[in-house]
């Protein structure tokens, strides 16, 4: 448990806590090996998994994001998180046409599929047929995902997806996203200041509040991005604005 959690101000310690989820979370600090499949919660001593819960956090990044989109009229939004009813309704009611694509779930499915292909290729003793370099893998992943016409979105909800993707995929994906955005389009992203202990998804509650939902781990966090690295990733954007939260989350806005 982190120091902030002990103080009761860490992630998941908000007022909305208490709603249990079906599947437990696998924590990096626990004795349990990391696995993609949800495992039963160990409720013993120090290895006890934290209670799965939802909590609300004030989001200045979201507020700023909406402010930037104000007056856009019938805009188009790409949500790269799970399809939550509340998030979709929030934007649809504001006149947006929303596209939803759960990129981390797609990444997980892609990795499973790749593993299968690799096993198949190994079985046939033809490893050379499958290029397993990160760059080739990134290209294959992006060939099957984020397939939209250029300049088709005014806004993108990227959430903390980049923390969980391989760096090569991140770089290529941000480049692709830049093409998908119209000039003046806005990206809302989040970055963990420390390697996240658990796995969380986010949904919009209202114009200044996000709900943080502990979820079963889809894929492990890959790296923690420093400010300079984030600036490099989004180098083609004209404006970047960040908000640092007490819960080790940085919210960033990028305007093309």
């Amino acid at each position: 448990m982190s120091f902030l959690n002990k103080l009761g101000i860490g992630v998941g310690a908000g007022a909305g806590a208490g709603a249990r989820r079906d599947a437990p979370i696998t924590m990096g600090g626990s004795a349990r090996p990391r696995s993609n499949t949800p495992a039963p919660v160990a409720a013993v001593g120090a290895a006890r998994a934290p209670e799965l819960r939802e909590s609300n956090r004030v989001s200045n990044g979201l507020k700023e994001f909406l402010w930037n989109l104000d007056g856009l009229g019938r805009g188009t939004l790409l949500d790269l998180g799970p399809a939550w009813q509340t998030t979709l309704s929030f934007f649809i009611e504001r006149g947006f046409r929303v596209s939803s694509e759960d990129l981390l779930r797609a990444w997980k499915d892609f990795l499973v599929e790749e593993e299968g292909k690799l096993r198949e290729a190994t079985g046939r003793a033809a490893q050379h047929t499958l290029d397993v370099t990160p760059a080739a893998r990134a290209a294959r992943f992006l060939e099957a995902n984020l397939q939209y016409p250029n300049s088709s979105f005014d806004a993108v909800l990227l959430w903390d997806v980049l923390d969980y993707l391989e760096p090569v995929v991140c770089k290529q994906m941000v480049a692709n996203l830049t093409e998908l955005l119209r000039p003046g389009g806005v990206v809302f992203a989040m970055f963990h200041s420390k390697k996240p202990a658990g796995f969380q998804r986010y949904r919009v509650v209202d114009s200044t509040t996000l709900q943080v939902i502990s979820s079963p781990v889809l894929c492990p966090a890959q790296r923690v991005y420093q400010n300079r690295e984030i600036q490099d990733l989004f180098g083609r954007y004209r404006t970047m604005k960040s908000f640092v939260g007490r819960d080790q989350l940085r919210e960033s806005l990028f305007i093309k």
């Binding site: 399809a83 939550w84 009813q85 979709l88 309704s89 649809i92 046409r97 596209s99 939803s100 694509e101």
Partner: protein
């Protein structure tokens, strides 16, 4: 005696296995959900688990699909339920669409689309009201029709109800249980 029990134990719909049509049993007690083959109580036609169909399905009755279907589904005034075992690779046009299984294709649910927690849709959604349960997977664009041109029927209904034109942007919060 023995045969009746055999049929019941398979958990098949009351109006027969496989594809079957007919009017719904009026006044019949809704069956408790079966663990093996859940069946929509209101559906009058059913494509059960294990059945594969390739082609176009057209009709006006309600339909429950728990098997595989590839092609096109057009139920102009009916409701389509894709069961938890259902896999549909088709563009779907219906009055109401409930997805508890997997759909790969565009869904137009004129009045309503519901994605249950086990639902997985890869395709665009177009409807007046959309309900998404936590856990549902959606990969596609959502279009809620709010300003669609109104036909004479809609106009008449709106006049009777005293409402203006335009559909409801629903999107009620909470689960999609019906």
């Amino acid at each position: 005696m023995w045969k009746k029990e055999d049929v019941k134990s398979q958990g098949l719909p009351e109006n027969g296995p496989g594809i079957s049509t007919g009017s719904p049993a009026i006044g019949s007690v809704p069956r408790p959900p079966s663990t093996s083959v859940p069946v929509s109580a209101g559906a009058s036609a059913c494509i059960s688990q294990g059945i594969r169909i390739k082609g176009e399905v057209t009709g006006t009755e309600d339909l429950f699909i728990d098997g595989h279907l590839e092609g096109k589904v057009n139920l102009s005034s009916g409701s389509l339920t894709v069961g938890p075992n259902g896999e549909v690779k088709a563009d779907i046009f219906a009055r109401e669409v409930i997805v508890r299984g997997r759909v790969d294709g565009r869904i137009v649910g004129r009045e309503m689309i519901q994605l249950w927690s086990t639902g997985n849709v890869a395709g665009d959604l177009q409807t007046e009201r959309l309900t998404i349960e936590d856990g549902a997977v959606l990969r596609g664009r959502v279009e809620i029709e709010t300003g669609k041109p109104i036909d004479k029927h809609t106009e008449a209904r709106a006049a009777v109800a005293g409402t203006g034109k335009g559909g409801v942007v629903s999107v009620s919060s909470g689960s999609a249980a019906v």
